[in-house]
């Protein structure tokens, strides 16, 4: 089962929920940080990182002896990664989206693939929990290619808890695309409620079961609760607003460590997630 922990807005407690879940999980589990721009799951799970790879994206390379500067590649490329100027072929690897179009269209077979560095993929273990994360190279503008590389390295023999990037644009959508169940995290303030609605609407077309964790319950107002009732979004867990939890978080502790009574709540969350994901997975296996 793949659980993706997401939120419309950053700072709702998504990472701390993902970390707590991974800690108490009832069985073999892999914790994955797909927030490759700002990964922070490792700050809470504190894994022993033993594996490191550089992730690359295929970008074109030209064999000058075969190139006739016909310009077919430049004409097709939507990203200006390959350009023909006054008979010279120029490649701009940073612009490339790895679509393979230029390679396919070249009549002379003058293009082959080489790699552009996206960032790194780190792996290890954190007390019995497998750990995997991606970290985007500074100056690299695209997250999804690195995220896809991390997705390829998921251990599908285990359950997977994924910490997604916040928001609803490209990177967040890429993260939730592989989920069996999406666990949304929000807070009952106007910003939290507004962004949760955005996230729910954005993810709806994917047709995946969704549940909600309300963090900092007790702050804010009832709008989020009313919305959940009105739209049948199950509230699976409420974590009360608690300065002690905030302080513990500032020391890098996960919630289940800050307040041991929460460990049981998270175990229940784990069961409920299995329940939500079950019909989908049965259908997929049928």
């Amino acid at each position: 089962m793949i659980v993706v922990v997401a939120s419309g807005k950053g700072g709702t407690g998504k990472t701390t929920v993902a970390a707590s879940l991974a800690r108490i999980w009832d069985g073999p589990v892999q914790a994955v940080d797909l927030d490759v721009e700002e990964p922070d799951l490792h700050l809470f799970l504190k894994p022993d990182l033993t594996g490191r790879e550089t992730a690359v994206m295929p970008v074109p390379k030209v064999d000058e002896s075969k190139c006739t500067a016909c310009g077919a590649c430049a004409e097709l490329c939507q990203f200006k990664a390959i350009s023909v100027l006054a008979g010279h072929l120029l490649v701009f690897p940073d612009m490339c989206h790895g679509c393979g179009g230029c390679l396919a269209v070249c009549p002379e077979g003058a293009l082959t693939e080489t790699g552009r560095e996206l960032g790194e993929i780190l792996s290890g273990t954190a007390g019995g929990v497998d750990f995997l994360m991606g970290r985007l190279r500074i100056g690299e503008a695209m997250s999804p290619p690195l995220m896809h590389e991390v997705y390829k390295r998921l251990n599908r023999k285990k359950d997977v808890v994924i910490d997604a990037p916040p928001g609803t644009s490209c990177p967040a959508m890429t993260a939730v695309s592989g989920a069996d169940v999406i666990l949304l995290v929000s807070e009952p303030t106007p910003f939290g409620y507004h962004d949760l609605k955005l996230a729910r609407e954005a993810f709806q077309p994917l047709g995946k079961p969704m549940g909600l964790v309300i963090n900092r319950a007790g702050l804010g107002d009832r709008s989020l609760y009313d919305y959940c009732r009105a739209t049948n979004l199950p509230i699976l867990l409420e974590i009360p607003f608690d300065r002690k939890v905030a302080e513990a978080y500032s020391h890098g502790l996960v919630i289940s460590e800050a307040r041991p009574e929460y460990a049981d709540l998270f175990r229940r969350l784990c069961e409920q997630l299995r329940g939500l994901a079950a019909p989908v997975r049965e259908a997929a296996n049928a």
């Binding site: 419309g8 807005k9 950053g10 700072g11 709702t12 990472t15 721009e37 700002e38 922070d40 700050l43 809470f44 097709l76 939507q78 990203f79 989206h97 790895g98 679509c99 393979g100 179009g101 396919a104 269209v105 985007l136 500074i138 100056g139 503008a141 695209m142 997250s143 990037p165 916040p166 928001g167 609803t168 644009s169 490209c170 990177p171 959508m173 695309s177 303030t189 106007p190 910003f191 507004h194 962004d195 955005l198 609407e201 954005a202 993810f203 077309p205 994917l206 702050l219 804010g220 107002d221 300065r243 905030a246 302080e247 978080y249 500032s250 020391h251 890098g252």
Partner: protein, 295 residues
């Protein structure tokens, strides 16, 4: 004209609430919400739209089933898994699609259209604190920074037209394309952080981004008294990187209470927090003016 952009590597540090308060404290300014993916500033500022425009960027493919022979070539070539099937036949999942045009180009039946794509909407509005330029990107769209750039250009034009001399922007979170577009050419980036492991870690990444693109940056620590040790660590980092520390705001529920009432903390009665926000803003303006004079 001065441009100040408030950013944070990590979400939830209070960036938007603080930008809202600065919008109240500033004078002669245009407010700009560059967080086009998940804009929130409008929840505090309650903008009244004066202008609504479509944001059209790029193209997207569309399979014309009348011409399609179901040969499967598009599915075979697509590297993003964007060609899917339903009861009617193949279709393009526009959320997965990267708009590379490979399917359009190689379709033997010429059955795939290439249409302009509306990615979102943008607005020019008025608020109780001044004019505001903002937008909403539709879900799953590539947040390429083009909409951010458009908003900044509109803000500049508006400021020039109305004789205003400051653009105050709520920047995009993270370190990717939209943040880069938020920062390029800005006079001062104010990085909002919090004394937590994620807060520090992400602040360093965004400070490095500012350095990489040669943008002057200053740091503001929110909820500083949650963890005095971590706050000291942030101060040390600022010293080492030559970043000015413009404020330390205490952890105070009034911050959220104001938001629930749709107010900014500096208009929500008097509080030690509000006073500290005022002093912080004064420091920010001093630094920004100095940078501008030096340039």
């Amino acid at each position: 004209m001065l441009e100040i952009t408030v950013i944070s590597g990590k979400g939830g540090t209070g960036k938007t609430s603080l930008t809202g308060a600065f919008a109240q404290l500033a004078a002669n300014h245009v407010i700009c919400d560059l967080d086009v993916d998940a804009p929130d500033l409008h929840l505090l500022l309650d903008p009244a739209h004066e202008r609504v425009e479509k944001f059209i960027s790029g193209h997207e493919p569309l399979i014309d089933l009348e011409k399609c022979t179901d040969c499967g070539e598009c599915e075979r070539l697509c590297r993003y898994g964007a060609v899917k099937r339903n009861a009617d036949g193949p279709f393009i999942d526009v959320i997965a699609c990267e708009s590379c045009k490979v399917c359009v180009h190689f379709c033997p039946a010429g059955a795939i259209e290439w249409n302009r794509r509306q990615c979102g909407e943008w607005y020019i509005s008025r608020t109780r604190f001044g004019p505001m330029v903002h937008a909403q990107l539709f879900p799953g769209q590539e947040n390429s920074g083009l909409l951010v750039t458009l908003l900044r250009n509109e803000a500049r034009q508006l400021a020039e037209a109305r004789g205003l001399d400051l653009i105050l922007s709520d920047g995009s979170p993270g370190i990717g394309c939209p943040v880069i577009s938020s920062l390029a050419g800005t006079d001062l980036a104010v990085i909002v952080t919090e004394p937590t492991p994620s807060g520090i870690h992400d602040m360093e990444r965004v400070a490095d981004l500012c350095a990489h693109f040669r943008v002057a940056a200053a740091v503001l620590v929110n909820k500083w008294d949650l963890n005095v040790e971590q706050t000291r660590a942030i101060e040390t980092i600022c010293q080492n990187k030559g970043l000015a520390l413009v404020g330390r705001l205490p952890y105070d529920p009034v911050f959220t209470e104001a938001m629930v009432q749709r107010q900014v903390v500096t208009e929500y009665g008097r509080s030690p927090l509000a006073e500290e926000v005022r002093s912080t803003w004064a420091r920010i303006m001093d630094i920004a003016r100095l940078k501008q004079q030096a340039a």
